[in-house]
Symmetry: C2
Subunit: 256 residues, 2 copies
DNA sequence: TAGTGGTCTAGACCACGGA
DNA sequence: CCGTGGTCTAGACCACTAG
């Protein structure tokens, strides 16, 4: 995989002079790996070179590469599989999906979500969206509304805003023909991998349009989840407002 | 610190025969460290022995001890401080507290919580509490209700259930004279450290008694947070039902 | 200056998966 | 059988803290 190609190696492993901003070698390697991922050198689901190959490429020891990969694996950006190799994480694996869809049923039975795209429009960013997505007010956004149902019960309404510049060609048709998770589509078709998301949760009274979609009475309490998602390098690439009906499901979380 | 005392060392570092349940050495060390913590050999806030001392004690290399500590530090059970030592995490440090109280104000300003204990009673475990706390129905529990206010606005009502057997002597008087966080009291006075918690979030209409305490109208949407907390070794030691008013505050969470 | 955690290396060997 | 990640060791040196 391009091991002989020209590729900005760390020449003399940079030992900054004392008391200057000190960055350990393995952090520099971590950054180089992130850059390679961002460039798309290895795609989601693919295997990256072995630790020894990477060590040769970056002119460091295998242990140092290992520590860099350890960190990225801890962030769920890479996935180690003993005996097989190290792979780029992908949202097309269900285990990843569960990290980003935190609804679980009150009574055991896990259940697949049934997704219906309600619309997909181009809009202009208002101040709030622009601030969250690090854009300018008025920049183009793609606005998607979708409805998730479990066992036929409409349970989640998501209003999703994506920078139009990153997702040219994302249309209603593309969305409806996609079967897997949305993030899987975004990474496979547009090369944008969601790596982290910050959420803010509140209890709110159901707005009229959402109550109608969910077939519930107005003002019923809903869990509102505001999400900003980030790709490599903490770049915000999605703003999402979710309304969750939590009669049969709950939002699960673990504090550590 | 008892380095010469008799203490079940790993004698011949146990290399299990092939294909049998294999546990790496550093995992065995991790378990021994957890046992020492559980025994109270090192108390919250205290420094544990250096990596080299522990290596001698357990008859392994410093690198192996280091890897065990790495894991415990990743679980926020231990805290490393370069140049000083490795310390047992304590809930009396604000940084830890924020991991377990996830409310943040909608408008910047962070604010200290003002806690009022409403009552502290002995009750018997119902089926639900018994199941969550791994007890038998009818076992003794301490039931605490408290009210947290921010800027004078009542915002959180917590109903807390603790196994009476673990917290003998926990009374209204003890609670009211405690100034810091509840978990700080529990670890300092009863030797029970909260290490992890699972939460289930729902939006609900405010029950009458809670609406009254918060001085809000009945049926107003509240965020209900059911929590089970665990100490070392995944032992459940707290069941808590929280009702959060999310007009001015939100529950923050990061997905990774 | 001494003691602690943090980094980096090189080498040996083990566990796992697949050909 | 080989190639991968995983473990363990020993040793050298760096960065940080405190006396």
């Amino acid at each position: 995989m391009d091991l002989t190609e020209s590729q900005t190696p760390i020449q003399a492993p940079v030992r900054r002079e004392q008391t200057a901003a000190f960055s350990p070698l393995y952090q520099q390697i971590r950054q180089l790996l992130l850059q390679a991922l961002e460039k798309g050198e290895w795609k989601p689901g693919e295997m990256i070179p072995s630790e020894f190959d990477l060590a040769r490429r970056f002119h460091v020891s295998q242990g140092t590469v290992r520590k860099a990969i350890d960190e990225l694996a801890g962030e769920h950006i890479l996935i180690r599989r003993q005996g097989k190799g190290t792979f780029v994480a992908t949202h097309r694996e269900p285990v990843v999906r569960f990290r980003f869809l935190r609804l679980a049923p009150s009574d055991g039975e896990t259940v697949p979500a049934d997704s219906e795209i309600l619309w997909c429009r181009k809009v202009r960013a208002n101040a709030e969206a622009a601030a969250a997505l690090e854009l300018k007010s008025g920049d183009g956004l793609i606005y998607i509304r979708r409805l998730l149902s479990f066992r036929g019960q409409p349970t989640v309404v998501d209003d999703i805003y994506l920078p139009a510049s990153l997702f040219r060609g994302l249309t209603m048709a593309v969305l409806t023909e996609n079967t897997g998770p949305l993030y899987g589509l975004l990474e496979a078709r547009f090369g944008v991998s969601m790596v982290r998301a910050d959420e803010r949760l509140r209890a709110v009274a159901a707005p009229e349009d959402i109550a109608e979609l969910m077939k519930i009475e107005r003002h019923k309490p809903l869990l509102r989840v505001d999400r900003v998602s980030y790709t490599y390098g903490d770049r915000a690439v999605e703003l999402r407002y979710g309304h969750y009906l939590t009669d049969q499901y709950f939002y699960r979380n673990t504090l550590m």
